[in-house]
């Protein structure tokens, strides 16, 4: 199920009927304000979603022990 190479997106002006189009600066500014430091131990949270929620590492450790 290999996917074709990722094509370059087209440049386009701001402002469309839905949320497509360029991301407005005030939305970026709002997102920047929203971000916080979630504290020690959260450095790899984004890449450990499955590990934390579904215990992938624990399953692997159990498999390795057999």
């Amino acid at each position: 199920m290999e996917h074709a190479p990722v094509p370059e997106p087209k440049k386009r002006e701001v402002g469309t009927k839905d949320n497509s189009g360029l991301l407005p600066p005030h939305v970026i500014a709002w997102i920047l304000e929203l971000a916080v430091d979630m504290g020690p131990g959260t450095e790899d949270l984004s890449t450990s979603v499955d590990d934390v929620l579904y215990g992938r590492n624990a399953i692997q450790r159990n498999n390795d022990s057999f």
């Binding site: 997102i31 916080v36 959260t42």
Partner: protein
């Protein structure tokens, strides 16, 4: 269209995350290049809220994540996974998930949703993610 995965949204919300700056750079990219509609699915909402809650036990952080995903339509629209998508996701998961590529069912739902959008709307669909499980089977960004 661009579909946001949990990993990207979590990186965007946590300044301490190792991919925070990568996520910010991609925000700038979206201010320059048009990727089409920005969307996600309810399964991703569940993952993000549950992960932040279980990792921080801070209700304010969970609320901010909810606001980003559900209350900021200029940035993102959240779609429910319909029955047809569930069936496609199940078929996708059966085909792809393995010990070497431990795809979650949520990831399979994202792939099925993206495939449906590609087919029905004849549009290019990107997946915004830092999850390696998507590599090689979808058009991923950043």
């Amino acid at each position: 269209m661009i579909v946001f995965d949990s990993s990207f949204l979590i990186a965007l919300l946590n300044k301490r995350d190792s991919y925070y700056h990568s996520a910010l750079r991609f925000l700038d990219d979206m201010a320059t290049f048009d990727y089409g509609s920005r969307v996600t699915i309810d399964y991703v909402l569940d993952e993000v809220l549950t992960l932040i809650w279980s990792s921080t036990l801070d209700k304010n952080l969970v609320k901010q994540a909810y606001d980003l995903i559900c209350a900021t339509p200029e940035f993102l629209r959240c779609y429910r996974v319909e029955v047809e998508i569930l069936q496609q996701a199940w078929d996708t998961w059966l085909k792809i998930a393995s010990p070497n590529r431990p795809l979650s069912f949520t990831d399979a739902c994202i792939l099925a949703f993206a495939k449906r959008e590609e087919n029905e709307n004849n549009t290019m669909v990107y997946i915004a993610t830092f999850d390696n499980d998507f590599r090689g089977i979808a058009a991923t960004v950043p």
